[in-house]
């Protein structure tokens, strides 16, 4: 019985530790005003803003997902989307507040924020931001409106 419990405990610990990893790894150099986890937007430009210690260097980079055919199979890669005319880096001023506008490409984008504080500690925050066109959203809403729930219910109780 005890032998069976051990693997369960070990697996549970692994799971818990795995969940805690990002928290433990982040020394909290940057505090974002709005988290960048799984954002869906129709705006081509988004704001990355937040708080950090003065003189912290912050780099905001955007990677867009591109697909390539490799031996007949579709492979996805991340390609940096160099922001036209914008510098990736900034140094946080004395108030500790920073803000930067980034431009997205249609589809899935990976936003990577790299922060290095004056003590040379580093933090990397990543997030996925999906940019859809207004037409795509309109179409999705239209599809939802056309969806006949009554027919489905009838189908189920038939």
């Amino acid at each position: 019985m005890i032998r069976k419990v051990y693997p369960v405990i070990i697996l549970s610990l692994i799971l818990v530790l795995n969940m805690l990893t990002p928290v433990l790894a982040a020394p909290g150099i940057v505090e974002l005003i709005k988290p960048i986890t799984d954002i869906k937007t129709v705006n081509k430009n988004i704001i990355i803003s937040g708080w950090a210690e003065a003189d912290t260097s912050i780099e905001v980079r955007v990677y867009s997902r591109v697909s390539q055919k490799v031996e007949g199979e579709e492979v996805y890669n991340w390609e940096e989307y160099i922001q036209p005319g914008k510098e990736a880096g900034l140094v946080v001023g004395p108030t500790g507040f920073f803000a930067r506008e980034v431009e997205l490409k249609n589809g899935t984008n990976k936003v990577v924020i790299k922060a290095v504080n004056p003590e040379d500690e580093e933090e990397i925050i990543e997030g996925m931001v999906t940019l859809s066109s207004k037409e795509e959203v309109r179409e999705a809403v239209q599809n939802l409106l056309n969806f006949n729930f009554l027919d489905i219910i009838k189908e189920i109780i038939k």
Binding site: K34, I47, K86, T95, G96, F97, E101
Partner: protein, 464 residues
């Protein structure tokens, strides 16, 4: 008659003919068409009759494409055309409001409704001042405007581009919002907004969207790479070293120059006075100040705001004219020597951006006080950009400019406290240090709860 005599007669005939034709030409074409009137004020607008609608203009137009996507337009070289096109359409709406024979109903609504309207697809027009309704009546009603509009002064308006097509007017005098339902959607404005969105203009953000504060009353850009503002060289409008020009200017203010004394002060200023009616002072920086001693003699029937504007514009026209890109910045009632009058402040812009003078932020380029249809005070301080140099470096981000202000008002604190900013926008500052040529450079004008700051938009230093 020999050949020589014939030749002589032909020659005499030709000379007489040329005299006749030349005389005819001089008589038929007015002299002022041939020799333009000399302008002592360099760069002044040569228009003679000023139209009020040229000066009562929005300081900006915000186009909201729907949701958190908006841009701010000023009347500059890059967006001037679309600014004018949009404002023409908005003007049609205002003309309809002021001249329609149908009774257009206005209902007072909560400020929240105004905020909701500006957060959806809309056109927002912001004037520099809550101009009295009678000014709008004059501009958009052309003297035949209808009565019964409950608004006292218009500071801004929003045309909703949604399904209802409502117009919201912000009454800056009463601090109230009025809504007028419109039965149709403005297709032209919608088209202009869509066309502008396709051009992917610079996005502007409210401080709330940026996360700086909860304020969403104004917008700033965060992509400074799109701005290409040159640094210029400015010169005084009046060459104060040229005595003849100064004397000629002074003669325009006094009817009998033989009665006028000229006093030269130690500071280099010149004072012209007839000791009876008026005084004119021109200092070495080119600042001109005219004051009348007696306020009597005005027309008691001309005490209204539009008469004051009319008198001011006519006076400016004769005494220096309007510089290019000038606009009415403020108009308010004042009491001068127990007389009720109006103070009108005009300023001017360089490529759509307003000018500020270092050491003199509160004074406008032209200020006129009118009492009973008579100008009793007139100040003028204008510079012209003569050279412009492109700067190969990005402008300061607004957050960086706010950092400079935070440093100036007590440094950074540990508690994530930021200076409360009520408004911030780009402009040009003229640094009047030096003798003949001054530096004109882009600045951030930041208005906080306590005072206004000017931050050099390239160097990041606090100017004022």
């Amino acid at each position: 008659m020999n050949k020589e005599k014939v030749k002589n007669w032909i020659l005499i005939g030709l000379v007489l003919l040329s005299f006749g034709l030349t005389t005819q030409l001089w008589l038929s074409v007015p002299i002022d068409k041939i020799i333009p009137e000399e302008q002592a004020f360099s760069g002044q607008d040569s228009k003679e009759d000023y139209d009020l609608s040229s000066f009562v203009l929005p300081q900006y137009i915000v186009v909201n494409f729907g949701g958190q996507s908006h841009t701010k337009l000023i009347n500059d070289s890059s967006n001037g055309r679309v600014f004018i096109e949009i404002y023409q359409e908005v003007s049609k709406i205002l003309e309809h409001i002021f001249t329609s024979e149908q009774d257009i109903a206005f209902s007072q609504v909560q400020l929240e409704e105004w905020i909701a309207a500006r957060e959806s697809k809309s056109i927002e027009v912001d004037y520099r001042w809550a101009f009295d309704l009678s000014i709008f009546r004059e501009v958009f009603g052309r003297g035949k405007a209808r009565e019964g509009i409950p608004i006292a002064g218009i500071k801004g308006l929003i045309v909703s581009l949604g399904r209802d097509g409502a117009v919201y007017i912000y009454d800056g005098v009463k601090g109230a919002v009025y809504k007028s339902e419109r039965p149709y959607v403005n297709a032209s404005l919608n088209r202009l907004a869509d066309r502008l969105e396709e051009r992917d203009p610079v996005k502007y953000w409210s401080l709330r969207e940026i996360g700086y504060s909860e304020d969403s009353s104004f917008y700033v850009p965060l992509d400074m790479s799109s701005f290409n503002l040159p640094v210029g060289t400015a010169v005084k409008e009046l060459d104060t070293d040229a005595q003849a020009i100064l004397d000629a200017q002074a003669s325009g203010f006094f009817s009998d120059m033989s009665m006028v004394r000229k006093i030269t002060e130690m500071s280099g200023s010149f004072i012209y006075t007839d000791s009876q009616s008026a005084l004119l002072r021109i200092d070495s920086s080119g600042f001109m100040e005219y004051m009348v001693y007696s306020y009597a003699g005005g027309d008691k029937n001309r005490t209204d705001i539009n008469s004051a504007i009319d008198a001011a514009l006519k006076f400016i026209n004769v005494h220096g004219g309007m510089p290019e890109q000038s606009y009415l910045e403020e108009i308010r009632e004042v009491i001068e020597n127990d007389y009720r009058g109006h103070l009108l402040k005009f300023n001017y812009a360089y490529n759509g951006l307003p000018f500020f003078r270092r050491g003199d932020l509160e004074t406008s380029a032209i200020e006129v006080t009118v009492v009973e249809g008579k100008v009793v005070k007139y100040t003028r301080n204008i510079h012209h950009i003569t050279k412009a140099r492109i700067v190969q470096k990005p402008l300061l981000y607004p957050v960086e400019a706010a950092d400079v202000v935070a440093g100036a008002i007590g440094g950074a604190s540990e508690t994530k406290s930021l200076p409360v900013i009520l408004d911030m926008y780009l402009g040009y500052c003229i640094d009047t240090e030096g003798t003949k040529e001054y530096r004109a450079f882009p600045v951030w004008h930041i208005k906080t709860e306590d005072r206004a700051f000017i931050v050099d938009a390239y160097e990041g230093r606090l100017v004022e």
